[in-house]
């Protein structure tokens, strides 16, 4: 399988804090890859670096065989890197429909051409057509997922999409992620391990910026190193 995302010796420091320490990662095309680890492990930092929202202090990043290390976030998004943020981010003064259409516009030939697809996404995610500022937290998550999908991403970065969702919203989210076509490669950061184990082909564990392990869900569940690394924070 060809690596859709390849990360080589990626490092990032914040002052004296090493948020990520020479991390290597390969994610195959169509793979669902989960990234887990206690708070402060560097998961969001890794997604920031892959999306281009932050610059690495060392290392390289390839998307679909192309070195994107020096490209800005907008260029990477146009290459097909989509993202859902840990804190839901939409444009509050635009309507939900316009949020989706604007989010998809650059990869689908403009705002007007994106509108039909945006309407479908709007109803598929059960969203009302109101100003984004009026949505509840769970609806904002749904909106952000619809926004990311509108851009027809090749690589979808999800940062704790299940955080703060009700039981109903959680099962909706699981269904949406399960039904994503295999043309979309997924890198999922998530604390809800039931979601991780149900969805992921492989799992990577980070702790304090260090790579702990990568393996299938079964391997990770069985690993004693992972259990120790995770012990204090999650279990």
């Amino acid at each position: 399988m060809r690596a859709l995302l390849a990360v080589d010796a990626l490092s990032r420091r914040y002052g004296s804090l090493v948020a990520l320490d020479r991390i290597d990662l390969r994610i195959g095309e169509g793979e669902r890859h989960a990234l887990i680890g206690p708070n402060g492990a560097g998961k969001t930092t890794l997604l920031d670096l892959v999306a281009g929202a932050a610059r690495p202090d060392g290392g390289r990043i390839w998307v679909a065989g192309r070195d994107v290390t020096r490209l800005g976030p907008a260029r990477r998004a146009r290459l097909g890197v989509g993202r859902i943020h840990q804190r839901p981010a939409a444009w509050p003064s635009l309507s939900t429909l316009d949020n989706i259409a604007v989010a998809g516009a650059r990869r689908c030939g403009g705002y007007r051409r994106t509108l039909p697809a945006a309407r479908q996404l709007l109803s598929a995610h059960g969203l009302p057509d109101v100003t984004a500022a009026q949505l509840s937290h769970g609806q904002r998550r749904q909106l952000e997922i619809a926004m990311a999908l509108a851009g027809r991403p090749r690589l979808l970065l999800l940062d704790e999409p299940a955080a703060g969702l009700s039981a109903v919203e959680f099962s909706q989210l699981s269904a949406v992620l399960r039904d994503l076509p295999r043309t979309v490669t997924v890198l999922l950061v998530e604390h809800r391990l039931d979601l991780v184990y149900a969805l992921a082909d492989r799992v990577t564990v980070l702790r304090d910026g260090q790579h702990v392990a990568t393996g299938t869900p079964d391997e990770i569940r069985a690993s004693s190193t992972v259990r120790t690394a995770y012990a204090e924070a999650v279990i």
């Binding site: 976030p73 444009w91 003064s93 635009l94 259409a101 604007v102 705002y111």
Partner: protein, 305 residues
């Protein structure tokens, strides 16, 4: 507020038959400044770049159109195009200075650009006439073959038509994708980038378009006022425009014109009552607008809801 538009347009068209020539000329000046305020609203309210510097392309466009009027062409459309292109060119030249700045830094840089242009206008006597001003620009004819605009009423109606057309174009553009993208940049720039939008390019285009509008307004000022001096482009004008935009509801280009009309009327009327206290009154209005208006709007919304 939409129902107000039709009566307002009617009143604006009827005004020069109801008012004396002096008032008509004042109204024409309000229209011109209102158009500059619309360019301020485009940047401040829609794109989220608060500016005190739209007086700069306004001045550049005005002096360019005046030079054209004095030396070669007395056709209105040519002068408008001249003003708009010089305003746009001025903005394009200053884009590298502003495009990376945001918020208060943007405000301060544009303020500096505005002040530099006023200083240049008072020094470059051969073009601008310095602080004595520039006079003697002949009244133009709107288009080749049309009569010369030789009354205050004709000049006012010409300004009204031009402002109306420009406003309609801007409002229509802002209703489409361009408006969405700019409001997206204002709401959350990083999110725009994460969706692949080239934010810097969008803001640069908005800044250049706002420069074109201000420059075009500058050429209208030559027609309506037939006299230019650096005082037409000073800091107090820039502050007044920003105040008009705040009062008009920052995101609204049409509101900006109404807001500017209110501010100018209030200033002229009040300074008649209290001569020599113009700047003080403007300051008081500014504070009142900043503190009272958001609360008033909030209360109104609750009453309506």
């Amino acid at each position: 507020m939409r129902w107000l538009i039709a009566p307002a347009v009617l009143a604006a068209v009827a005004a020069p038959w109801l008012a004396d020539p002096y008032t008509t000329a004042t109204l024409a000046r309000i229209l011109v400044l209102g158009l500059v305020a619309a360019s301020v609203a485009l940047l401040t309210g829609v794109a989220g770049l608060p500016t005190l510097g739209q007086t700069a392309p306004f001045a550049a466009g005005a002096y360019a159109a005046a030079t054209l009027a004095l030396h070669s062409s007395s056709v209105g459309v040519t002068q408008l195009l001249m003003g708009a292109s010089v305003g746009a060119a001025f903005a394009a030249l200053t884009t590298p200075l502003v495009v990376y700045a945001r918020g208060v830094v943007f405000l301060m840089i544009t303020l500096a650009i505005g002040e530099l242009v006023v200083t240049a206008a008072s020094r470059w006597r051969s073009v601008t006439g310095g602080t004595d001003g520039l006079a003697g620009m002949p009244s133009p004819r709107p288009l080749w073959g049309l009569p010369i605009l030789d009354t205050d009423r004709a000049r006012y109606l010409y300004a009204l038509a031009v402002v109306g057309v420009v406003l309609c174009v801007v409002v229509l553009l802002l209703r489409g994708p361009a408006g969405m993208y700019l409001r997206g940049c204002r709401d959350d720039e990083a999110r725009m980038r994460a969706s692949g939008h080239p934010v810097g390019a969008y803001l640069a285009i908005a800044y250049i378009a706002a420069g074109a509008i201000a420059g075009l307004a500058g050429s209208l000022l030559v027609t309506t006022q037939q006299y230019l001096s650096p005082a037409d482009f000073g800091f107090d004008v820039a502050a007044l425009l920003l105040l008009g935009v705040v009062i008009g509801g920052a995101g609204s280009v049409v509101g900006a014109i109404a807001g500017t009309a209110v501010v100018l009327a209030a200033r002229d009327w009040l300074s008649g009552l209290l001569p020599g206290r113009g700047p003080l009154l403007l300051g008081a209005l500014f504070i009142a607008a900043a503190y009272v208006l958001p609360r008033l709007r909030f209360m109104l919304r609750r009453v309506v809801a």
